[in-house]
Protein backbone atom coordinates (compact mmCIF):
# COMPACT_ATOMS: atom_id res chain seq x y z
CA UNK A 1 0.00 0.00 0.00
CA UNK A 2 1.33 3.41 -0.94
CA UNK A 3 2.46 5.88 1.74
CA UNK A 4 0.60 8.91 0.50
CA UNK A 5 -3.09 8.15 0.14
CA UNK A 6 -5.89 10.67 0.20
CA UNK A 7 -7.98 11.23 3.30
CA UNK A 8 -10.85 9.53 1.48
CA UNK A 9 -8.73 6.44 0.85
CA UNK A 10 -7.63 6.37 4.50
CA UNK A 11 -11.23 6.58 5.68
CA UNK A 12 -12.24 3.92 3.19
CA UNK A 13 -9.52 1.56 4.41
CA UNK A 14 -10.71 1.98 8.00
CA UNK A 15 -14.32 1.33 6.99
CA UNK A 16 -13.36 -1.70 4.92
CA UNK A 17 -11.24 -3.19 7.69
CA UNK A 18 -14.16 -2.78 10.02
CA UNK A 19 -16.54 -4.39 7.54
CA UNK A 20 -14.16 -7.31 7.07
CA UNK A 21 -13.71 -7.55 10.82
CA UNK A 22 -10.01 -7.97 10.30
CA UNK A 23 -7.68 -5.20 11.36
CA UNK A 24 -4.64 -6.89 9.88
CA UNK A 25 -5.85 -7.90 6.41
CA UNK A 26 -3.74 -6.45 3.65
CA UNK A 27 -5.28 -3.54 1.86
CA UNK A 28 -4.49 -2.37 -1.68
CA UNK A 29 -5.45 1.02 -3.06
CA UNK A 30 -6.63 0.31 -6.61
CA UNK A 31 -7.57 3.88 -7.51
CA UNK A 32 -7.32 7.16 -5.63
CA UNK A 33 -8.70 10.01 -7.72
CA UNK A 34 -10.98 12.91 -6.87
CA UNK A 35 -13.75 11.23 -8.86
CA UNK A 36 -13.46 7.84 -7.25
CA UNK A 37 -11.39 5.96 -4.70
CA UNK A 38 -11.27 2.17 -4.79
CA UNK A 39 -9.66 0.00 -2.11
CA UNK A 40 -9.33 -3.77 -2.04
CA UNK A 41 -9.24 -5.98 1.01
CA UNK A 42 -9.11 -9.68 0.18
CA UNK A 43 -12.16 -10.64 -1.82
CA UNK A 44 -13.94 -7.35 -1.26
CA UNK A 45 -13.50 -3.98 -2.93
CA UNK A 46 -14.87 -0.74 -1.52
CA UNK A 47 -15.55 2.26 -3.69
CA UNK A 48 -15.99 5.84 -2.46
CA UNK A 49 -18.16 7.52 -5.06
CA UNK A 50 -17.46 11.04 -6.29
CA UNK A 51 -18.46 13.91 -3.99
CA UNK A 52 -21.92 15.15 -4.83
CA UNK A 53 -23.22 11.70 -5.81
CA UNK A 54 -26.99 11.68 -5.26
CA UNK A 55 -27.63 8.94 -2.66
CA UNK A 56 -31.11 8.19 -4.02
CA UNK A 57 -29.86 7.81 -7.59
CA UNK A 58 -26.94 5.68 -6.44
CA UNK A 59 -29.35 3.45 -4.49
CA UNK A 60 -31.41 2.85 -7.64
CA UNK A 61 -28.29 2.11 -9.66
CA UNK A 62 -27.10 -0.27 -6.97
CA UNK A 63 -30.50 -1.97 -7.05
CA UNK A 64 -30.13 -2.44 -10.81
CA UNK A 65 -26.69 -4.01 -10.38
CA UNK A 66 -28.13 -6.37 -7.75
CA UNK A 67 -31.20 -7.24 -9.84
CA UNK A 68 -31.45 -10.83 -11.18
CA UNK A 69 -32.17 -9.43 -14.67
CA UNK A 70 -28.63 -8.02 -14.70
CA UNK A 71 -27.01 -11.02 -13.01
CA UNK A 72 -24.81 -12.07 -15.92
CA UNK A 73 -24.15 -8.55 -17.14
CA UNK A 74 -23.32 -6.26 -14.23
CA UNK A 75 -21.21 -7.22 -11.24
CA UNK A 76 -23.62 -7.46 -8.29
CA UNK A 77 -22.70 -5.54 -5.11
CA UNK A 78 -21.72 -7.36 -1.94
CA UNK A 79 -23.88 -5.29 0.33
CA UNK A 80 -25.85 -2.09 0.70
CA UNK A 81 -24.47 1.42 0.82
CA UNK A 82 -22.59 3.27 3.47
CA UNK A 83 -21.02 6.67 3.86
CA UNK A 84 -17.63 7.97 4.95
CA UNK A 85 -17.22 10.62 7.65
CA UNK A 86 -16.64 13.13 4.83
CA UNK A 87 -20.08 12.27 3.47
CA UNK A 88 -18.99 10.31 0.44
CA UNK A 89 -21.12 7.31 -0.51
CA UNK A 90 -19.48 3.92 -0.27
CA UNK A 91 -20.41 0.65 -1.97
CA UNK A 92 -18.88 -2.83 -1.62
CA UNK A 93 -18.16 -5.25 -4.46
CA UNK A 94 -16.55 -8.63 -4.98
CA UNK A 95 -13.00 -8.39 -6.28
CA UNK A 96 -12.50 -9.43 -9.88
CA UNK A 97 -9.56 -9.70 -12.28
CA UNK A 98 -9.34 -6.61 -14.52
CA UNK A 99 -8.22 -6.51 -18.15
CA UNK A 100 -4.42 -6.57 -18.12
CA UNK A 101 -3.39 -2.95 -18.69
CA UNK A 102 -0.13 -3.96 -20.35
CA UNK A 103 -1.83 -6.26 -22.87
CA UNK A 104 -4.46 -4.16 -24.62
CA UNK A 105 -4.15 -6.43 -27.64
CA UNK A 106 -5.72 -9.20 -25.58
CA UNK A 107 -8.64 -6.90 -24.77
CA UNK A 108 -12.01 -8.68 -24.56
CA UNK A 109 -13.71 -6.79 -27.38
CA UNK A 110 -16.06 -9.69 -28.07
CA UNK A 111 -17.02 -9.96 -24.41
CA UNK A 112 -17.57 -6.20 -24.21
CA UNK A 113 -19.84 -6.22 -27.28
CA UNK A 114 -21.87 -9.11 -25.92
CA UNK A 115 -22.27 -7.57 -22.48
CA UNK A 116 -23.50 -4.30 -23.93
CA UNK A 117 -26.01 -6.07 -26.19
CA UNK A 118 -27.40 -7.89 -23.17
CA UNK A 119 -27.42 -4.75 -21.04
CA UNK A 120 -29.35 -2.88 -23.73
CA UNK A 121 -31.93 -5.68 -23.83
CA UNK A 122 -32.74 -5.59 -20.11
CA UNK A 123 -36.48 -4.91 -19.69
CA UNK A 124 -36.44 -1.70 -17.71
CA UNK A 125 -40.01 -2.05 -16.47
CA UNK A 126 -38.81 -4.87 -14.22
CA UNK A 127 -35.97 -2.86 -12.68
CA UNK A 128 -36.11 -0.68 -9.60
CA UNK A 129 -36.86 2.94 -10.30
CA UNK A 130 -37.05 5.72 -11.02
CA UNK A 131 -34.04 5.03 -13.21
CA UNK A 132 -31.89 8.15 -13.58
CA UNK A 133 -30.56 9.28 -16.94
CA UNK A 134 -27.36 7.79 -18.27
CA UNK A 135 -24.66 10.33 -17.48
CA UNK A 136 -22.52 10.12 -20.61
CA UNK A 137 -23.53 13.53 -22.00
CA UNK A 138 -23.19 15.12 -18.54
CA UNK A 139 -19.62 13.83 -18.30
CA UNK A 140 -18.79 15.16 -21.74
CA UNK A 141 -20.11 18.55 -20.59
CA UNK A 142 -17.93 18.35 -17.49
CA UNK A 143 -14.84 17.70 -19.61
CA UNK A 144 -15.58 20.81 -21.66
CA UNK A 145 -16.12 22.82 -18.48
CA UNK A 146 -12.74 21.62 -17.26
CA UNK A 147 -11.07 22.68 -20.49
CA UNK A 148 -12.73 26.10 -20.27
CA UNK A 149 -11.69 26.46 -16.62
CA UNK A 150 -8.09 25.65 -17.57
CA UNK A 151 -8.14 28.89 -19.60
CA UNK A 152 -5.43 27.69 -21.98
CA UNK A 153 -3.93 30.14 -24.43
CA UNK A 154 -5.86 30.25 -27.68
CA UNK A 155 -4.77 27.49 -30.06
CA UNK A 156 -6.02 25.57 -33.09
CA UNK A 157 -6.65 22.59 -30.81
CA UNK A 158 -8.76 24.29 -28.13
CA UNK A 159 -10.67 26.31 -30.69
CA UNK A 160 -11.49 23.18 -32.72
CA UNK A 161 -12.55 21.24 -29.62
CA UNK A 162 -14.91 24.00 -28.49
CA UNK A 163 -16.29 24.47 -31.98
CA UNK A 164 -16.86 20.74 -32.47
CA UNK A 165 -18.60 20.70 -29.08
CA UNK A 166 -20.85 23.62 -30.02
CA UNK A 167 -21.93 21.74 -33.15
CA UNK A 168 -23.42 18.85 -31.19
CA UNK A 169 -27.15 18.66 -30.56
CA UNK A 170 -28.28 19.62 -27.07
CA UNK A 171 -29.00 16.09 -25.85
CA UNK A 172 -25.40 15.07 -26.51
CA UNK A 173 -24.16 18.09 -24.53
CA UNK A 174 -26.34 17.13 -21.58
CA UNK A 175 -28.50 20.23 -21.84
CA UNK A 176 -31.72 18.81 -23.21
CA UNK A 177 -32.78 15.27 -22.62
CA UNK A 178 -36.13 15.60 -24.34
CA UNK A 179 -34.87 16.70 -27.73
CA UNK A 180 -33.43 13.29 -28.57
CA UNK A 181 -34.17 11.45 -31.81
CA UNK A 182 -36.18 14.20 -33.46
CA UNK A 183 -33.90 14.23 -36.41
CA UNK A 184 -30.62 12.56 -36.99
CA UNK A 185 -27.63 14.69 -37.61
CA UNK A 186 -26.42 13.59 -40.99
CA UNK A 187 -22.97 15.05 -41.04
CA UNK A 188 -21.13 11.81 -40.51
CA UNK A 189 -22.59 10.14 -43.54
CA UNK A 190 -20.13 8.72 -45.90
CA UNK A 191 -22.63 8.43 -48.70
CA UNK A 192 -25.28 10.91 -49.66
CA UNK A 193 -28.37 8.78 -49.37
CA UNK A 194 -30.52 8.01 -46.42
CA UNK A 195 -29.00 4.60 -45.90
CA UNK A 196 -32.14 3.33 -44.25
CA UNK A 197 -30.81 0.24 -42.62
CA UNK A 198 -33.83 -1.24 -41.02
CA UNK A 199 -33.98 0.85 -37.89
CA UNK A 200 -34.27 4.09 -39.79
CA UNK A 201 -37.96 4.25 -38.99
CA UNK A 202 -37.15 4.38 -35.33
CA UNK A 203 -34.40 6.91 -35.92
CA UNK A 204 -36.76 9.32 -37.54
CA UNK A 205 -39.78 8.58 -35.43
CA UNK A 206 -38.74 10.65 -32.47
CA UNK A 207 -40.79 8.43 -30.19
CA UNK A 208 -37.99 8.31 -27.66
CA UNK A 209 -37.57 4.53 -27.87
CA UNK A 210 -33.83 4.75 -27.78
CA UNK A 211 -33.80 6.90 -24.68
CA UNK A 212 -35.54 4.16 -22.76
CA UNK A 213 -32.67 1.74 -22.86
CA UNK A 214 -30.49 0.79 -19.94
CA UNK A 215 -26.99 2.05 -20.71
CA UNK A 216 -23.66 1.81 -18.93
CA UNK A 217 -22.68 5.37 -19.76
CA UNK A 218 -18.90 5.15 -19.47
CA UNK A 219 -17.56 2.12 -21.28
CA UNK A 220 -13.84 1.54 -21.50
CA UNK A 221 -11.59 -1.43 -20.85
CA UNK A 222 -11.25 -0.55 -17.17
CA UNK A 223 -14.96 -1.27 -16.78
CA UNK A 224 -14.65 -4.99 -17.44
CA UNK A 225 -13.64 -7.52 -14.83
CA UNK A 226 -13.64 -11.28 -14.60
CA UNK A 227 -15.31 -12.44 -11.44
CA UNK A 228 -14.14 -15.86 -10.19
CA UNK A 229 -12.45 -16.51 -13.54
CA UNK A 230 -15.84 -16.80 -15.21
CA UNK A 231 -17.21 -14.51 -17.88
CA UNK A 232 -16.65 -10.80 -18.03
CA UNK A 233 -18.89 -8.44 -16.13
CA UNK A 234 -19.37 -4.69 -16.35
CA UNK A 235 -18.49 -2.60 -13.32
CA UNK A 236 -18.87 1.06 -12.30
CA UNK A 237 -22.53 2.03 -12.06
CA UNK A 238 -21.96 5.75 -11.47
CA UNK A 239 -23.11 6.70 -14.97
CA UNK A 240 -25.62 3.89 -15.52
CA UNK A 241 -29.12 4.88 -16.54
CA UNK A 242 -31.59 5.46 -19.34
CA UNK A 243 -30.27 6.85 -22.56
CA UNK A 244 -29.23 6.24 -26.14
CA UNK A 245 -27.47 2.85 -26.28
CA UNK A 246 -25.28 4.10 -29.13
CA UNK A 247 -23.41 6.07 -26.46
CA UNK A 248 -22.02 2.81 -25.05
CA UNK A 249 -20.54 1.88 -28.44
CA UNK A 250 -19.31 5.36 -29.16
CA UNK A 251 -16.02 5.39 -27.28
CA UNK A 252 -14.55 2.43 -29.22
CA UNK A 253 -16.18 3.99 -32.31
CA UNK A 254 -14.38 7.28 -31.61
CA UNK A 255 -11.07 5.46 -31.14
CA UNK A 256 -11.60 3.63 -34.41
CA UNK A 257 -12.55 6.83 -36.25
CA UNK A 258 -9.45 8.55 -34.89
CA UNK A 259 -7.29 5.76 -36.31
CA UNK A 260 -6.30 4.40 -32.88
CA UNK A 261 -8.34 1.22 -32.64
CA UNK A 262 -7.49 -1.40 -35.26
CA UNK A 263 -10.26 -2.17 -37.74
CA UNK A 264 -10.30 -5.83 -36.66
CA UNK A 265 -10.86 -4.90 -33.02
CA UNK A 266 -13.65 -2.51 -33.95
CA UNK A 267 -15.26 -5.18 -36.12
CA UNK A 268 -14.98 -7.82 -33.43
CA UNK A 269 -16.61 -5.50 -30.90
CA UNK A 270 -19.40 -4.34 -33.21
CA UNK A 271 -19.89 -7.82 -34.68
CA UNK A 272 -20.25 -9.39 -31.24
CA UNK A 273 -22.70 -6.65 -30.24
CA UNK A 274 -24.84 -7.26 -33.31
CA UNK A 275 -24.60 -11.05 -33.08
CA UNK A 276 -25.90 -10.85 -29.51
CA UNK A 277 -28.91 -8.86 -30.70
CA UNK A 278 -27.69 -5.38 -29.75
CA UNK A 279 -30.27 -2.73 -30.58
CA UNK A 280 -28.19 0.46 -30.81
CA UNK A 281 -27.24 0.29 -34.49
CA UNK A 282 -28.70 -1.47 -37.51
CA UNK A 283 -27.08 -4.24 -39.49
CA UNK A 284 -25.63 -1.96 -42.13
CA UNK A 285 -23.77 1.34 -41.73
CA UNK A 286 -23.71 1.99 -37.97
CA UNK A 287 -22.52 5.59 -38.33
CA UNK A 288 -25.87 7.32 -38.70
CA UNK A 289 -26.47 6.27 -35.10
CA UNK A 290 -22.90 6.50 -33.86
CA UNK A 291 -21.95 9.83 -35.36
CA UNK A 292 -23.22 12.21 -32.67
CA UNK A 293 -22.13 10.22 -29.59
CA UNK A 294 -18.76 9.40 -31.20
CA UNK A 295 -18.20 13.08 -31.91
CA UNK A 296 -19.14 13.90 -28.30
CA UNK A 297 -16.71 11.34 -26.91
CA UNK A 298 -13.96 12.43 -29.29
CA UNK A 299 -14.36 16.00 -28.10
CA UNK A 300 -14.61 14.89 -24.45
CA UNK A 301 -11.38 12.90 -24.71
CA UNK A 302 -9.57 15.71 -26.51
CA UNK A 303 -10.76 18.30 -23.97
CA UNK A 304 -9.57 16.22 -21.02
CA UNK A 305 -6.27 15.51 -22.74
CA UNK A 306 -5.63 19.22 -23.35
CA UNK A 307 -6.59 20.16 -19.77
CA UNK A 308 -4.59 17.35 -18.16
CA UNK A 309 -1.50 17.88 -20.29
CA UNK A 310 -1.54 21.61 -19.53
CA UNK A 311 -1.97 20.98 -15.80
CA UNK A 312 0.96 18.55 -15.84
CA UNK A 313 3.05 20.82 -18.04
CA UNK A 314 3.58 18.07 -20.59
CA UNK A 315 2.96 17.64 -24.30
CA UNK A 316 0.13 15.48 -25.65
CA UNK A 317 1.02 11.87 -26.31
CA UNK A 318 0.34 10.32 -29.73
CA UNK A 319 -3.08 8.94 -28.81
CA UNK A 320 -4.17 12.30 -27.39
CA UNK A 321 -2.88 14.03 -30.52
CA UNK A 322 -5.02 11.68 -32.61
CA UNK A 323 -8.15 12.63 -30.65
CA UNK A 324 -7.39 16.33 -31.01
CA UNK A 325 -6.78 15.84 -34.75
CA UNK A 326 -10.18 14.11 -35.01
CA UNK A 327 -11.77 17.10 -33.24
CA UNK A 328 -10.13 19.44 -35.75
CA UNK A 329 -11.59 17.38 -38.61
CA UNK A 330 -15.03 17.44 -36.96
CA UNK A 331 -14.85 21.23 -36.72
CA UNK A 332 -13.79 21.44 -40.39
CA UNK A 333 -16.65 19.23 -41.50
CA UNK A 334 -19.10 21.31 -39.53
CA UNK A 335 -17.95 24.40 -41.36
CA UNK A 336 -18.20 22.61 -44.69
CA UNK A 337 -21.68 21.38 -43.85
CA UNK A 338 -22.78 24.85 -42.72
Amino acid sequence: MGEAVSQTAAQLITALRRAQRDATAEVTVLADRPDGTVVRCGHVVAKAHPPGTDPAELAVRLGVAAHPRCAEILLPPVDGMGALPDGRQVTLWPYGEPVAPDAPDAAPWVGAGRLLARLHAVPIAELPGPLPAMRGPAKAARAIARLRAAALPDSVATRAVLRAWAGLPGWARGVDRTERTGRMDRMGRRDGNDGNDGNGGRDEGGDGDVTHTLCHGDLHLGQLIRHRATDWRLIDIDDLGLGDPAWDLARPAAWYAAGLLAAEDWERFLGAYRAAGGCAVGQRDPWPRLDVPARALTVQTAALALAKAAAAGRALDEAEEAMVAASVRIAHFMEAAG
Binding site: R186, R189, E267, A326
Partner: protein, 95 residues
Amino acid sequence: MQCPKCHAPMHTYNRNGVQIEQCSGCRGIFLDYGELEALTRLESQWTQAGPPAPPAAPQAYPAAPAWGAPQHGHYGHHGHHGHHKRGFGHMLFSS
Protein backbone atom coordinates in the same frame (compact mmCIF):
# COMPACT_ATOMS: atom_id res chain seq x y z
CA MET B 1 -33.29 28.69 -46.99
CA GLN B 2 -36.70 27.02 -47.18
CA CYS B 3 -37.66 24.01 -49.27
CA PRO B 4 -39.72 25.14 -52.29
CA LYS B 5 -41.79 21.95 -52.04
CA CYS B 6 -42.56 21.43 -48.35
CA HIS B 7 -41.16 24.66 -46.81
CA ALA B 8 -39.04 22.89 -44.20
CA PRO B 9 -35.58 24.41 -43.60
CA MET B 10 -32.82 23.28 -45.94
CA HIS B 11 -29.32 22.45 -44.78
CA THR B 12 -26.14 22.83 -46.75
CA TYR B 13 -23.90 19.82 -47.21
CA ASN B 14 -20.59 19.49 -48.94
CA ARG B 15 -20.26 16.51 -51.25
CA ASN B 16 -16.79 16.18 -52.73
CA GLY B 17 -16.39 19.93 -52.71
CA VAL B 18 -19.84 20.60 -54.18
CA GLN B 19 -22.27 22.50 -51.92
CA ILE B 20 -25.76 21.07 -52.04
CA GLU B 21 -28.88 22.01 -50.08
CA GLN B 22 -30.97 19.22 -48.65
CA CYS B 23 -34.41 19.61 -47.11
CA SER B 24 -34.66 18.44 -43.51
CA GLY B 25 -38.31 17.52 -44.14
CA CYS B 26 -38.77 15.78 -47.48
CA ARG B 27 -35.02 15.15 -48.12
CA GLY B 28 -35.29 16.85 -51.50
CA ILE B 29 -32.06 18.30 -52.86
CA PHE B 30 -31.58 21.75 -54.37
CA LEU B 31 -28.69 22.32 -56.74
CA ASP B 32 -27.40 25.72 -57.77
CA TYR B 33 -26.42 26.50 -61.36
CA GLY B 34 -23.53 24.27 -62.38
CA GLU B 35 -23.68 22.01 -59.34
CA LEU B 36 -25.34 19.13 -61.16
CA GLU B 37 -22.63 19.34 -63.81
CA ALA B 38 -19.97 19.39 -61.10
CA LEU B 39 -21.44 16.29 -59.49
CA THR B 40 -21.77 14.53 -62.86
CA ARG B 41 -18.16 15.37 -63.63
CA LEU B 42 -17.02 13.95 -60.28
CA GLU B 43 -19.08 10.85 -60.87
CA SER B 44 -17.58 10.21 -64.30
CA GLN B 45 -14.09 10.75 -62.88
CA TRP B 46 -14.89 8.17 -60.27
CA THR B 47 -16.16 5.57 -62.76
CA GLN B 48 -13.28 6.24 -65.17
CA ALA B 49 -10.73 5.83 -62.43
CA GLY B 50 -12.50 2.56 -61.70
CA PRO B 51 -12.39 1.29 -58.13
CA PRO B 52 -9.58 -1.29 -58.18
CA ALA B 53 -11.94 -3.82 -56.51
CA PRO B 54 -9.80 -6.80 -55.59
CA PRO B 55 -11.36 -9.94 -57.11
CA ALA B 56 -12.08 -11.62 -53.79
CA ALA B 57 -12.76 -9.00 -51.15
CA PRO B 58 -15.72 -10.20 -49.13
CA GLN B 59 -14.61 -8.20 -46.09
CA ALA B 60 -14.75 -4.52 -46.95
CA TYR B 61 -13.02 -2.08 -44.65
CA PRO B 62 -15.53 -1.19 -41.96
CA ALA B 63 -17.41 2.06 -42.42
CA ALA B 64 -16.02 5.20 -40.80
CA PRO B 65 -17.46 8.69 -40.41
CA ALA B 66 -16.58 11.49 -42.80
CA TRP B 67 -14.39 13.07 -40.11
CA GLY B 68 -12.48 9.82 -39.57
CA ALA B 69 -8.70 9.59 -39.75
CA PRO B 70 -7.39 9.79 -43.31
CA GLN B 71 -5.89 6.31 -43.31
CA HIS B 72 -9.37 4.80 -43.26
CA GLY B 73 -10.16 3.02 -46.48
CA HIS B 74 -6.57 1.99 -47.10
CA TYR B 75 -5.48 -1.56 -46.80
CA GLY B 76 -2.24 -2.73 -45.36
CA HIS B 77 -1.65 -0.51 -42.34
CA HIS B 78 -3.48 -2.84 -40.04
CA GLY B 79 -3.38 -6.55 -39.37
CA HIS B 80 -0.34 -6.19 -37.19
CA HIS B 81 -0.98 -5.92 -33.54
CA GLY B 82 1.46 -4.53 -31.08
CA HIS B 83 2.31 -1.08 -32.37
CA HIS B 84 -0.39 1.09 -30.93
CA LYS B 85 0.21 4.81 -30.83
CA ARG B 86 1.94 5.96 -27.67
CA GLY B 87 -0.61 6.59 -24.96
CA PHE B 88 -3.39 4.50 -26.47
CA GLY B 89 -2.87 1.69 -23.98
CA HIS B 90 -3.61 4.15 -21.22
CA MET B 91 -6.51 5.80 -23.04
CA LEU B 92 -8.24 2.42 -23.40
CA PHE B 93 -8.67 2.36 -19.63
CA SER B 94 -9.76 5.91 -18.88
CA SER B 95 -12.95 7.93 -19.12
